[in-house]
Symmetry: C2
Subunit: 286 residues, 2 copies
Amino acid sequence: MTICRLGYLGPRGTFSEDAALIYNSRSERMLREHPTIASVITALMGGELEEGLVPLENNLEGGIAATLDLLAKQDGIYICYELVCPVSQCLMAEKKMEAGEIKQILSHPHALGQCTDYISRYCPEAECLPVESTASAAKSVLGRPGTAAVANRRAAELFGLTLLAEGIQDNEENTTRFVVLSRSDHPPTGNDKTSLVLSVPDGPGTLYQTLGYFARRNINLTRIESRPSRRIIGDWLFFIDCEGHRSDPGLVELWEELKQAVPFLKLLGSYPKSSLPAHIPGRPDN
Amino acid sequence: MTICRLGYLGPRGTFSEDAALIYNSRSERMLREHPTIASVITALMGGELEEGLVPLENNLEGGIAATLDLLAKQDGIYICYELVCPVSQCLMAEKKMEAGEIKQILSHPHALGQCTDYISRYCPEAECLPVESTASAAKSVLGRPGTAAVANRRAAELFGLTLLAEGIQDNEENTTRFVVLSRSDHPPTGNDKTSLVLSVPDGPGTLYQTLGYFARRNINLTRIESRPSRRIIGDWLFFIDCEGHRSDPGLVELWEELKQAVPFLKLLGSYPKSSLPAHIPGRPDN
């Protein structure tokens, strides 16, 4: 039997690697680091990977634009699993220093956005500089006194940095939802969710009418996110998650109704509902 | 009479400065550059400004998280005007070179996100590095051969750079919507919009029920954007724009109904509907 190849958004030392390690603890996969979300999806389509793990949304910052846009336009890939991972942001630097002495703080824009309260209170003089990942922020503080990074604990270990503060995110319930993508979705388990994306016809009340198809069948929406469409029919796309598997009779009927009613409709997949993982499993530190 | 002081998100050479200059051509204001969106709003609350101009959403990338979150939690400021400005992204460098020779591309993450198709086609080897503004990207390419910036034409002029390509954004209809904030909103003009933010009660069908209040009064929604709430009641906030002024009888009645129906409701203001500006007015180049 061939080992399943799982691609994830690198580099090592990011929250995506944390999520890949959590997922991998279920059954062993060959982990492959990718530089971008688009590259994970291209490798999946090209048959170089069986599965790809990408971030979908953060409960403070909202949807990850790159993932949502690619899912809306790419045929033949489906969500087959979700993981909701707690995010604990840490402040780190090469050597111990007080938060007030920090001149510059580097991190991914989402991570900086998650720590605005802490930064404005404890490091009001610091300049925030966005970089491409939390791991590259951590790596970049080496040899730069006065500069700190916001990243995860794992990054501090990887690059030998000193932790100045832990859990500095604005909201203690900061979580990121990752999804595993594959060329087919997950069979029913009895406790599932279904993700889809649609646009609604022009005119007043059309989103209201569309949500009515779900409400009349008592299908609970667990999330709705509207995004401007990128060249896809309609001005707005609505990313909707609802309870149930696409093979459930209620969802089968809903799908037939929606197909008639909306100009654009695409299944993103059915998959088991996540329960929060207890912890990140132990891992070698090579 | 005192001249009105208008704060905007700096630095000079960004699309926000373009928008401030367009707005200023209506009647002259004293322009004040601010380093962050939060600082514009703080200065407005503290009486150092009469008006503040900030970006609200881009039609490709979606809502500007910092503006939406501040509007949802800050009492006493209202949207009094909107401007929808076309965005033309340009590729620029210190000296003329071919797109394929570019090793690094610097820009604000939103601007990089707007040009992903162009960059992956013409500069597939280039590494994209997010920085804090399009203007700082332009400034940073000085003295760095092989490095280009994505920014507006104005930035190329300000920093004496060579334009390599113009209009490189994925979508020709790329626009950013800016709003002018003030301590009061705009009187009715007969062609107005109203912005509000609300959360809906827990349970199935509650967003559907809430949108029903608008649909039954034939109040047209021009935009809905859901965002995870940050410490405000409810898991999600819905930013809604609808047609009409809050003093219109239909909207007065809608407001009374919504107040009873939803756990959180906040007026963001009524203001005249934007028509696209023809061009950016001429300006001194000091």
